[in-house]
Structures are given as structure tokens and as C-alpha cells.
């Protein structure tokens, strides 16, 4: 799960990670009042969406009066912001963050993420703040400092020294401030079961203070149960409605732009099914893992969600029953055809536990648009042919 910048900064503040002061607004009038409350003579109006690259897309603007804050907020609220991370359809802006202006001397980068190879969190820092970090990693990898922290010992002094010397911070007072900043950020990461934290840019002000000018956080979904405060930060409007609906039924769904709807058990086989369709000259319309507890209701829901996508010309149901029993899936398919108008050909391949019973059920039902595939290759080939109208 991801959260907005203003929410990440609320968490930062709790742990003593310094940020500029700011207040979130839903309306231009609120934005005006926020600017008044913050005081000062320069403000930044920032679109709150779950995607990076907001500045380049026109979602971050500088204002020099309360009136201008209101004006900019009215322009940004309700706009569809397109950035390199939103996809061409963009994202609707429903909240703006009004933040006091900052005196930027240097822009740095600081992040924490799991290093899967080392199996411990790694703090990443760079002097190339404000740039896309992927680009820095690709073009000048030597400008990224990586310091892995073993949670068994926690953040130690040497971790901090590796960071400041790596970044070329020589002033002793500044070194102390940066180390404190990084240590607090590590604590934020650990205590909240974050999956990643990114501050880009982290700025040094003219007076030598370090501030998180931006903040991005993602969380380990498996750990949300023990963080009800973070679960409360979930912004449903940022999530794909179909993906969300699917997850409520224990289905894992991701929409793609092809023509063949897929319903599969297991994430690996679901990806493998998409790959096979592609290999045979078709295009997958979605990823859909029905999980281990599939029943008639979830299968019917799966069909409903797949068929919302008007590009779908055929559906391939590919189940290898281990925990999932094939006869249940077969009954689910029959049930689904009663509940939902399945108006495209459905190729069904059921193998594994209770596959013969399942075959019998489908045969006896005798439904015209159900085509039986004998194995993965055969099923995929038939689905590709069906989508082409062959």
C-alpha cells in the first residue's frame, strides 16, 4: 500500500525526521486559509497523487500571495495529472498540500528499501537529488551510496559515517544533523513495516538544515494488520477500482491491454499463462489469480471483472488444481454463466485434483461457448484462435 506525500510527512514528523511545515487542502478556500495559517511570504502548492514526477507534469507550483495560493489550488485541484509514472491516462488530483517555501542550497536523495540479496534494509543516498534515481543508478552508479543495516544491531555510528563521508558532507555540525536524520528515517522504515521510503529531494537549506522536501512511502501489505493507523491512511480513490473489487473477493487482478481474459490459479501459472498466450500470437487482457480458496462465487466474480473490459474477445480459464479442486471450479463456471452474461468463447483447461469429475460436469452441462483445452499449450492455442474468431 502507498500513501500520499502529506501522510508520509506526518509519519516523518512523529519520528523527528525534519520536514517543512504544511497543511493539506481539499478546496481552494481551504488552501487560502492554510497559507494564512502557515504564515511567511512564499508557499508551494503540491498536487497529492500516488505518483512521482508531479513537478514536471505541472502539479507543483510556487505562490507568492494567499490569493495566488488559492488561484493555483483551484487550477490544480480537479486536474488530471499525467507524469511518467501515471501512464497516459493520468490521475485526478483531489487534494493539494500547501507547504511553506524553503531556502534550497543543495538537493540530495535518501531512501530505504529491502536489499533482497543481502536480506536486510539498505539506506541509499546520493548527491544527485531531484533527478530520477533510476537514471542516476544507470548512468552514474558511483554516485549512489548504499549502506546495508543489519536489524540485529540496528543503525550504528559507522553506518552514519559511511553516509556522510560518502556524500562529502564535511562540516561537523552538518554531519551530526544528517546522521540523526538518516537514523530517524531508518526507524520510520523498521517500526512501520515500510516496503520503501524515498525522499527526493532531501534539501540542505542556506543555514545548513536538512529537510525532507518530498516523501514517498510504500508498506508491506502483509504487515498492515498491526498498523491500523497506516491502514487508515489508505486512499481508495488512488487504487484501480477493478483491482480493489477483485481483492475483496480474494482475487488478485491486474488489467492489461490485450484481448484474451485469463483466469488462473497461482501467480506463477497466471504469469506463465499470459506468456504462453503471447508466445502463441495472442495478447493477454489481464492477470487474474483466483487463489487457493476459489469457489463458485469467486469464479463468477472473476468473469464479471474480466468482462468489464470491452477489449476481451475470449477467456482462458487455466487451473491446475492442487488445493483448488477442479470440480469446484467447473461448478463455478456453470454458476457464473447463469449469473453473468458470458458472451465470449471460454476455453477451459482443468488439470490436477478432481479433474476427471470436472470434465464430466462441463460435458454434461453442454454449453455452446465453452471449449475444453486438454493441456496448457492446447488451451492457449484454442483461446488465441477463439479471440481471432476462428
Amino acid at each position: 500500500m502507498n500513501i500520499h506525500e502529506y501522510q508520509a510527512k506526518q509519519i516523518f514528523a512523529k519520528y523527528g525526521v525534519p520536514t517543512p511545515r504544511g497543511i493539506v487542502a481539499n478546496t481552494p478556500e481551504q488552501a487560502f486559509l492554510n497559507a494564512q495559517e502557515l504564515g511567511g511570504n512564499i508557499w508551494v502548492v503540491k498536487a497529492q497523487i500516488h505518483a512521482g514526477g508531479r513537478g514536471l507534469g505541472g502539479g507543483v507550483k510556487l505562490a507568492k500571495s494567499h490569493e495566488e495560493v488559492k488561484q493555483l489550488a483551484s487550477e490544480i485541484l480537479g486536474m488530471t495529472l499525467v507524469t511518467h509514472q501515471t501512464g497516459p491516462e493520468g490521475k485526478l488530483v483531489q487534494k493539494v498540500y500547501i507547504e511553506e517555501g524553503a531556502d534550497i542550497k543543495d538537493e540530495l536523495y535518501l531512501g530505504v528499501v529491502l536489499d533482497r540479496a543481502k536480506e536486510m534494509p539498505v539506506i541509499m543516498a546520493s548527491t544527485e537529488g531531484g533527478m530520477e534515481i533510476e537514471k542516476v543508478a544507470e548512468e552514474t552508479p558511483e554516485k549512489i551510496i548504499k549502506v546495508a543495516v543489519d536489524p540485529a544491531i540496528g543503525f550504528q555510528g559507522f553506518h552514519g559515517r559511511e553516509l556522510v563521508f560518502g556524500l562529502g558532507i564535511t562540516d561537523k555540525a552538518e554531519q551530526g544533523k544528517f546522521i540523526k536524520f538518516a537514523k530517524a528515517l531508518y526507524t520510520v522504515y523498521m517500526e512501520n513495516d515500510a516496503e520503501m521510503i524515498e525522499i527526493n529531494p532531501l534539501i540542505k537549506t542556506g543555514s545548513g538544515e536538512f529537510l525532507a522536501l518530498d516523501g514517498k512511502m510504500g508498506f508491506d501489505d502483509s504487515a498492515l494488520g498491526r498498523h491500523p493507523d497506516i491502514e487508515d491512511m489508505r486512499d481508495i480513490s488512488e487504487e484501480d477500482p477493478d483491482e480493489r473489487e477483485a481483492s475483496q473477493y480474494g482475487l488478485s487482478y491486474i488489467s492489461l491491454d490485450g484481448e484474451i481474459g485469463c483466469m488462473v490459479n497461482g501467480a506463477g501459472l497466471a504469469m506463465g499463462t499470459m506468456d504462453t498466450i503471447n508466445y502463441m500470437g495472442g495478447t493477454p487482457a489481464n492477470f487474474l489469480d483466483v487463489g487457493g480458496s476459489a469457489n463458485a462465487e469467486t469464479v463468477a466474480k472473476g468473469f464479471e471483472i474480466i468482462l468489464k473490459n470491452k477489449n476481451v474477445k475470449a477467456i482462458f480459464v487455466n487451473i491446475f488444481g492442487g488445493i483448488v479442486r477442479c470440480d469446484r471450479i467447473a461448478n463455478g463456471i456453470l454458476e457464473a454463466t447463469k449469473i453473468t452474461d458470458v458472451n465470449v468463447p471460454v476455453v477451459v483447461r482443468l488439470d490436477g485434483t478432481n479433474a476427471p469429475e470436472a470434465a464430466e460436469i462441463l460435458k454434461n452441462a453442454n454449453i455452446s461457448n465453452i471449449i475444453v483445452g486438454s493441456d496448457l499449450g492446447d488451451g492457449a492455442a484454442k483461446a488465441v484462435a477463439a479471440a481471432k474468431g476462428e
Partner: protein
């Protein structure tokens, strides 16, 4: 022969009396696995599925001589269970539970390594030595005895691969589902040399997927150390980039993690890479009939 487990392996079940634990322990017993008991706190002294229940893993080990534990406890209790097993001298913990927090698994794995306990999973189908010992949730009937070792991140692709190998007239020595979580126990690099050393295994199937760089590490290892033929499939060639993979995650591996990159690395290491999982059986047949 086989790797890690066989008909003589003594297994206990942590989370023995729960719904999942009960169902799958029963299936494993029916397969012939030597399940010698289980652990459920406060149910010690009882009998379940005809086997003794203990309050702690230490007691279970002392009374049964078990060396392997199959873990079915709920996600929030997985790290505790794994550490208890390691502390009690279990040699291999097979963690089936899905949805354990990554931070918990980080701590549990580090503790297991310190205590020389091997782990498989979490979030995996388990391990099976065909017709001898099933420790997990896979449908046992598709694994016929044979000469092919199998390592897979995905549960259902394990079944798919094994089924195809058997349909081609071959069979499986041992199949290991290693799971696809960010932190897992035994991986390709540890399992490949075990299959290399197993006299009955004549070919190895490895099934990977996008994310992380375990397959790239495996490719480098195969090039240097593995003489038996390897067939590989990498799932997710058509998966949209960045959908599940966190932003900063891609940087760590230096841009690694795509299917194309993993396939190229494996091919360069002399592995027979198939583009579709539907080709696994045929590819195994090809490398074995050479």
C-alpha cells in the same frame, strides 16, 4: 536417492491441530510421509491424527527424533515458529504459510542461518520426494518417481512442470517449491549443487519469475558448477513493468529483475530456456535423450 528428504525423514507439524495443518498433515500421512507428531501450545499430551501433540518443539524433538518441521501457523506467528524450530535443533523447516510480514521473515531467516537450520519458503507448496515423502500442500499423485529434479518459485507452475515431465515418460526425484517472497530460505544456488550431487537426478528443471536476482545468481553458479542439463522457464515476460515491484527496488539489483534479462543470463550459462511453460516437458525430453 533424492535430496533433503526421503522415506525415513521424521517430520513434525507446527500448527498441527489447526484447520490447514490438520487437512494437509492428513494428506501427507496418506502419501507415506513419516509425520511423527505435532506442536500446538496448550494441547500437549493430546493425540491428533493418531500422533502425539506437544506444547513445544523442544519436547517434540526430544520425544520423536524429528529433524524436519512443516509450519502451518498463521502469518503473525510464523517468525516465532521458525525461531522456535531453529532453537530446538530442527534441521529443516518447511514454511507453508502465506502472508508473513517481510520484517519478521528477515529476523527469522537470520536466526535460522545462525543455528544452521535450513528453511524452505515461506508462501510455498513445500518439498516432495516422489513416492517417498511429501512435506507440503502439493497434489502428490502427479509426482511419479524418476530422474528429474525440480526447483520452482511458483506452486502451480511446480505442478505444471512436474506433470509435463511425467507425461513425457520421465519422473521426479525431488521437487522443491522455494516460494516467491522477498526473503526466502533455500534458493536455486543452494539446491542446484544438491541435485548435482544426487546420483539419481539426471536433469534439473528450474522455474523462476520476475523480480529480484536469484535466477541471475543461479545462472552464474550453473556455468561454473553444474554439469547436468538444466531446463528453465521464467514467468512474467508479459507482466507490466513496475506494477508490483516497488520503485526503489529496481535500483538495488542495478536494473535486474526482468524476465528477458534472466532468460539471457541462463541461456548464456548453457541452460535450455523455454519461452512458454507448455514446453517444459518437451525440453526435458530433449535434453535427456541427447
Amino acid at each position: 536417492m533424492s535430496i533433503l528428504v526421503n522415506k525415513d525423514t521424521k517430520v513434525i507439524v507446527q500448527g498441527f491441530t489447526g484447520k490447514e495443518g490438520t487437512f494437509h498433515a492428513e494428506q501427507c500421512l496418506a502419501y507415506g510421509t513419516q509425520i511423527v507428531g505435532g506442536v500446538t501450545p496448550n494441547k500437549g499430551g493430546q493425540e491428533h491424527l493418531g500422533k502425539p501433540v506437544f506444547n513445544t518443539v523442544k519436547e517434540a524433538v526430544a520425544n520423536t527424533g524429528a529433524t524436519v518441521s512443516m509450519i502451518f501457523v498463521p502469518p503473525a506467528f510464523v517468525s516465532d515458529a521458525v525461531m522456535e524450530a531453529a532453537d530446538a535443533g530442527i534441521e529443516l523447516a518447511v514454511i507453508i504459510t502465506e502472508g508473513a510480514p517481510v520484517r519478521d521473515m528477515q529476523a527469522a531467516k537470520a536466526y535460522a542461518v545462525k543455528h544452521n537450520m535450513m528453511t524452505i519458503g515461506p508462501n510455498c507448496p513445500g518439498i516432495i520426494t516422489a513416492e517417498e515423502c511429501k512435506i507440503g500442500i502439493m497434489p502428490g499423485m502427479i509426482f511419479k518417481k524418476g530422474n528429474v529434479g525440480l526447483i520452482s518459485k511458483s506452486g502451480t507452475l511446480t505442478y505444471e512442470g512436474a506433470n509435463q515431465v511425467c507425461n513425457e515418460g520421465y519422473g521426479i526425484t525431488t521437487a522443491v517449491g522455494i516460494g516467491g517472497d522477498p526473503i526466502i530460505g533455500l534458493s536455486y544456488k543452494q539446491l542446484l549443487p544438491m541435485f548435482e550431487a544426487d546420483p539419481e537426478t539426471e536433469a534439473i528443471v528450474m522455474i523462476g519469475e520476475i523480480g529480484g536476482d536469484l535466477e541471475i545468481q543461479a545462472a552464474a553458479f550453473i556455468k561454473e558448477n553444474i554439469t547436468k542439463p538444466v531446463v528453465a522457464f521464467i514467468a512474467g515476460q508479459t507482466a507490466p513493468a513496475g506494477k508490483r515491484m516497488g520503485h526503489a527496488g529496481a535500483i538495488i539489483s542495478g536494473g535486474a529483475g526482468t524476465a528477458a534479462e534472466k532468460m539471457a543470463a541462463l541461456e548464456a550459462a548453457g541452460v535450455k530456456v523455454v519461452v512458454s511453460p507448455a514446453e517444459i516437458g518437451k525440453a526435458v525430453s530433449e535434453v535427456l535423450s541427447k
